[in-house]
């Protein structure tokens, strides 16, 4: 039983990483209706920017805020320059665009900062949290930040005019335009916010997985899986999905014989798919009613 609780705790700790990433994935999915495959690389690039700032002697929190602002602006710029011209192109062409963006960012980061693994500082320290060996203060801090972020987003979307406008633009663009919402800029804003959230995720994850151009590969896959499991239309679902995926992954690694590190991912994905077969819109997702 103790093994079980320990594994669940460890799962929650890794789950926090996935939850962060899943939140960013859902944000952008809400705004543009596509899954952004380059999201992880964008987060990685932002994290490198903050690392570079710290190398130049900027303090952690100043670097954090500058990176946040940079990511927000960069997200908007990417949307305006690269993806706005593709707005009328087929969905699959857009997906190809994301893959192209992925390749560009990954390879440029490799050229600028090379592929060696770098240490990344944490503002929370890495002592055991409340005497538990499994969760460090950093991981507890990460969970805290994720929850705060979720609350912030909830209030933003529920109680501010601009949040309402963004939701309207995402769900019924035509009607939103008729009541005077600039839907095109709402999409750009969505990109900006998603990139900023992604950068937070990146900066929180980097102390755990270490900083290098390919650091997001695995995390993004789990982030997607978490977002899909929780339901792509629900930020709350994304966070719950993130924690569940973390727990799934740890329990599968512990209790199913013959599962090494390599089979953890396929098993976690298989479990997620079994859940989806029963609940096709994810655990907390809205069912989309289709008209013929």
């Amino acid at each position: 039983m103790e093994l079980f609780t320990n594994q669940v705790l460890a799962g929650i700790a890794t789950g926090a990483i996935y939850a962060c990433m899943a939140l960013a994935v859902v944000m952008i999915y809400q705004a543009i209706d596509h899954l952004n495959f380059a999201q992880g690389e964008m987060a990685m690039f932002s994290t490198f920017i903050s690392w570079q700032l710290m190398q130049w002697g900027v303090s952690y929190w100043a670097a954090f805020l500058i990176t946040l602002a940079f990511s927000f602006v960069a997200g908007i710029a990417i949307e305006r320059i690269l993806f706005k011209p593709l707005a009328k192109a087929p969905v699959l062409t857009n997906v190809a665009g994301f893959i192209a963006l992925f390749a560009i960012i990954n390879s440029s980061a490799g050229l600028i900062w090379d592929f060696t693994i770098k240490q990344y500082p944490t503002p929370f320290g890495s002592a055991p949290f409340l005497g538990s060996q499994l969760i460090s203060t950093h991981q507890a801090g990460m969970i805290g930040v994720t929850v705060l972020l979720l609350l912030g987003l909830y209030f933003f979307f529920q109680y501010t005019r601009i949040g309402l406008a963004m939701r309207a633009a995402a769900s019924v663009p035509e009607s939103a335009r008729l009541v005077g919402i600039n839907t095109s800029w709402m999409i750009a804003l969505g990109w900006g916010m998603a990139t900023a959230i992604g950068s937070i995720a990146g900066m929180l994850i980097a102390p755990v997985v270490f900083l290098e151009p390919n650091m997001m590969g695995g995390v993004l896959i789990y982030g997607f899986a978490a977002a899909v499991l929780g339901g792509l239309s629900s930020p709350f679902g994304a966070v719950v999905g993130g924690f569940l995926v973390g727990i799934f992954e740890n329990l599968a690694g512990t209790y199913i014989p013959g599962v090494g590190n390599e089979l953890k991912l396929p098993i976690a994905l298989a479990l997620i798919i079994s859940v989806l077969v029963v609940k096709p819109a994810g655990l907390f997702g809205r069912h989309i009613v289709k008209r013929v």
Binding site: P90, G97, V172, L263, R291
Partner: protein, 339 residues
């Protein structure tokens, strides 16, 4: 209000409608292309012949994805798994059971068809991104499954298997590479004709009805579940053939040759060639074979970025892929004829 709702409903169609006539080339053009494919290898080096063989093989794999996505509107990131199964079926049969390479191809087509059909069953409930995730899971699981211990006797584990390259039969005076090229060409042409006819048949129309509107298709009597799984099966079967040919051409199979990267390349090939346009599959295959090499030669350190930029250029200029170029060309020829 209702207008807005209709817009929402339209927004959920992942793949745009392509009329079935627009999915193929005219007879004249096809014959010219075929003639070129027959003659060119006689005048080039072995390495280029090998690359042309790979072009046909990847073309087949992209074609298979095109039938699934462009034909029936289902999206798959798991094609690398079917490709791997095809490759391994051929390699294992050739090396362990000493079966002739040509005979392994129908066998691997059958195995992959069954595999795809069975995979399509649970995948029926999923669509869009959810289906993408499910197929993605298949693609990430496949290399790990091939490495499993109890299969190692057959698959050779991480090391993989070496496949013997076949000689030209009947004492034909040609190199192994050239024979393999012509062999691949024969298989490719056969499968291409099969695919074109499939999409023109009753089943093909059922696929397209499902792609354009599933609910409308089912209310008109199309057995949606049957045709969706059938599309998966056919696509997997063709991908399996491509995998078999690939294994014979490369003379080597190993789990790590069939990762998700392969599935993503095939997807890019489909987009560049034009979703739903079968001849475009081969244009797309050329893109995924040659452009990464080109990018590498432009800049070693930034090859990924160069590839990304080139890909962006292509999708900006022709968001509908090579099909768009073909349509433009056709219009141009039409105008010239009028003058």
């Amino acid at each position: 209000m209702s207008a807005a709702e209709e817009v929402v409903a339209e927004g959920h169609e992942a793949v745009e409608a392509v009329p079935k006539r627009a999915m193929t080339l005219g007879t004249g053009t096809s014959l010219v292309v075929l003639a070129a494919l027959l003659i060119v290898p006689m005048f080039v080096k072995n390495f280029i012949i090998f690359q042309m063989t790979m072009l046909l093989i990847y073309g087949l794999a992209v074609l298979a994805l095109n039938i699934l996505t462009g034909g029936s509107g289902q999206f798959s990131l798991g094609q690398s798994a079917f490709y791997a199964v095809g490759a391994y079926v051929s390699a294992v049969l050739m090396e362990h059971a000493n079966i002739n390479y040509a005979l392994t191809i129908p066998i691997s087509a059958a195995v992959c068809f069954a595999f795809g059909y069975l995979f399509g069953k649970p995948a029926l409930r999923l669509s869009g991104v959810y289906l993408a995730l499910a197929t993605f899971a298949l693609a990430t699981a496949m290399p790990q499954l091939l490495k499993l211990n109890f299969l190692e006797h057959w698959t050779g584990g991480v090391q993989g298997l070496v496949v013997t390259k076949p000689d030209a039969p009947f004492g034909l005076p040609m190199s192994q590479d050239m024979w393999l090229y012509y062999f691949t060409l024969i298989v490719t042409v056969a499968i291409y004709i099969f695919s074109v006819n499939l999409l023109r048949s009753r089943s093909g129309r059922a696929f397209m009805a499902i792609r354009d509107n599933e609910i409308a298709a089912s209310s008109m009597g199309v057995n949606v579940a049957l045709y969706k799984t059938l599309a998966f099966g056919v696509s997997a079967g063709i991908t399996g053939v491509a995998g078999s040919l690939g294994a014979i051409a490369v003379q080597f199979v190993a789990p790590d040759s069939y990762t998700i990267t392969l599935a993503i390349s095939l997807f890019l090939g489909m987009v560049v060639g034009g979703v739903g346009w079968l001849p475009g599959s081969f244009v797309g295959a050329a893109f995924i074979i040659f452009v990464p090499n080109m990018a590498e030669s432009i800049s070693k350190g930034l090859s990924g970025a160069v590839f990304g930029v080139l890909l962006f250029l292509v999708i900006y200029l022709v968001p509908h892929g090579a099909r768009q170029v073909a349509i433009l060309g056709q219009q141009l020829v039409g105008k010239l004829r009028k003058n």
